[in-house]
């Protein structure tokens, strides 16, 4: 027999439900015990978050930011009572965050393990704007070509001609997002970007290069089966036997190569652009000290490096590039010095660097030219 529901029972139930709903806010309000993180999961491995909690008692509250746009949306949504302490953003996608004032200047004195990062990456201008550091590079990615070893002869593998030429027309897929920067190397006009000077002449030179590429794409896009946008799409195209060759960043290419020995990858001899994924601390982070503690902890754990490379497919920015990897994995993810020397790293010259907005303008038109 059901007991009659008394008013007292209802009030008690309501209080319990209210308490549970309010718990996250109560927990958030207790500074010192929580770090709120926003970014792709592979850069904040679950095992590391658990270990950090065990060692320090600080809980890492993690929110997945599938894209930079959603990350910034989340930041904006909580503007005024910002909840995020650490953000992970890729390469030049840092720029809108920095321009909007969402990232603080990194306090290097709070990160003793910063010395575990290879100075090549740490001191590159990619994380700095006007000489101020806004990010800590924890993984590097770059543009690659990917192909079926059984289809593309060995002699043709390390050139952009394989990706953009006629030999594999009808069996190609390109990603519009990175196409301009791959094409500037294919056409040999990369100086317009990488030796850019922020003058009217410099801007005009870069715009001419983009216009030339736009025209080339217009005449050659019949060679592709499809434009792809996500890593999953590209992988589907390869697995579905729709394409043999593509261009893509490491997050697209390395899972393919790791999954099947028939897939090969190359940093083409003409060159390619590279970028880093960075940890940044938000301006006015509510748990700033704990955020720095967590970043320092992540840099100090060799396993972080291994898990990050395994899941994100990039290159380690640590001095010990094989930390946390098995011998087979280390071999798979290893790029020779000669290959890495082909990479030109993206950087931001100053807060009003016009190259990225210009690139975005032309990227938006590529599919319709």
């Amino acid at each position: 027999m059901i007991e009659r529901i008394s008013r007292r029972t209802i009030l008690q139930g309501a209080a319990a439900v209210g308490g549970m709903l309010a718990m996250p806010a109560i927990v958030r309000g207790q500074s010192g015990g929580v770090v709120n993180v926003l970014g792709a999961s592979q850069f904040f491995p679950q095992s590391m978050r658990d270990r950090f909690k065990q060692e320090t008692g600080i809980t890492v509250q993690y929110r997945q930011g599938a894209t930079d746009a959603s990350q910034i949306f989340n930041l904006l949504a909580s503007e005024g009572q910002r909840e995020t302490d650490i953000v992970l953003a890729y390469g030049h996608r840092n720029f809108p965050f920095i321009a909007a004032g969402y990232f603080e200047e990194i306090d290097e004195s709070q990160i003793p393990n910063l010395n575990k990062i290879n100075p090549v990456y740490l001191n590159s201008p990619a994380q700095k704007v006007d000489g101020v550091r806004y990010g800590i590079p924890v993984s590097a990615g770059f543009m690659l070509s990917v192909f079926r070893n059984s289809v593309v002869p060995e002699a043709e593998r390390d050139t952009w001609e394989t990706v953009f030429g006629d030999a594999h027309a009808g069996r190609l897929t390109w990603r519009s997002g990175g196409l301009l920067l791959a094409q500037i190397f294919y056409h040999g006009v990369q100086d317009a970007w990488f030796k850019f000077e922020n003058t009217p002449e410099g801007v005009a030179r870069l715009e001419d290069a983009f216009k030339m590429i736009q025209s080339w794409v217009s005449q050659n896009k019949h060679k592709i089966v499809k434009w792809y946008e996500t890593a999953a799409e590209a992988q589907q195209l390869f697995y579905g036997n729709e394409v043999d060759v593509s261009q893509g960043t490491t997050d697209v290419v390395m899972p393919l190569v790791a999954a099947d020995p028939d897939y090969g990858r190359a940093i083409p001899k003409e060159g390619a652009h590279g970028f880093t994924a960075n940890y940044s601390v938000t301006t006015g982070a509510p748990h700033r000290d704990d955020a720095y503690k967590f970043i320092d902890f992540l840099l100090g754990q060799p396993d972080t490096n291994g898990e990050m490379i395994r899941s994100a497919g990039g290159v380690s920015t640590m001095l010990d590039t094989t930390a946390g990897l098995t011998e087979e994995e280390a071999a798979l993810y290893a790029f020779s010095e000669e290959e890495l020397s082909r990479i030109s790293w993206l950087s931001i010259l100053s807060a009003d660097d016009p190259r990225f907005p210009l690139q975005d303008k032309y990227v938006a038109t590529l599919k319709e030219v």
Partner: protein, 329 residues
Amino acid sequence: MTDMKSDGVAAPATMPPTGRGRRHWAAALQQNAVYAALSRVVLAHPRVAAMLVVGIPVLWVVVWNVLPLIGMLRISFLDEYPARITQGPGVTIEHYLSLFTELAAYRPFLRTMGFALAVVLVNFIVALPIAYFLAKRVPRNWQIRLLILVTVPSWVSEVIRAFSQILLLASNGAINITLQWSGVTSKPIQFLYNWFAVGGGTIYVTVLFMLVPLYAAIEKIPNQVLEAASDLGASKLQRFFRVTLPLIRDGIATGAVLVFLVSTGIYTVPVLLSGPDTNLFAQVIAAQFYESNLAWPRGAAYSVAMFATALLIAALLNYLIRPKRKFRS
């Protein structure tokens, strides 16, 4: 124990105990003082009751539908979003003008509108025989069962349905394997990444929006009307064009508007199935948000423009197709 009648007078509760001797939950609720007090207020004041009945759904629509649109409209006039902390946002109509001046914007925009109209037409041709068969040829007690069966594909997400088309149409998909195995073709046919795939995928996703209104409209036509037309010497075609079609114009208009609106905004299908020359406007909008370094104002302006144009064309479709009622009973 009291129960409240519509005149606000207390009455004894009439809920019987269940067979297992348990008091019915509704009876327990009626005995609750808070519920009783609320009921008393609502039932004694019809205006309050009406406001609650109307107000809650209106509030829902305003919060979840209207406010985001207003937010989008606001962003569409900003020159920069998010605005830099050091310099507030400016106001501009440049993003709207670009829709008329930039090839990369107006071409997919026009393409999408044309595509959506074509999808409406093909959907009508595909759905009409099915709806007619269901409404007039299937025994009444089987109609609902078959309708539910027709809705089965929509129980899974659009992404899964689009992927299922890839499995079917890919070079190593079921159709190509069958064609090659049976000797009809010697190499795979390119079914994917063209208008055939995008159109087929969109119709697959939207056909229910046409089918259900058509079924409802056809089902309402009395069989005697069709029989009378037949008795008067009308052929099957004459019966269809002069009796059935005019009587289902309401259903066609509803289906056309629904399919058109869904087709203009469809995103997953073209992302997964479109080729180099078949991009739709939803992809262009998404690119402004994700690929173009967060060009939210332009994406917002394109969204608002597409929304307004789609509504306008949908209203036009509705006006043209729906029968004009000169007399009201």
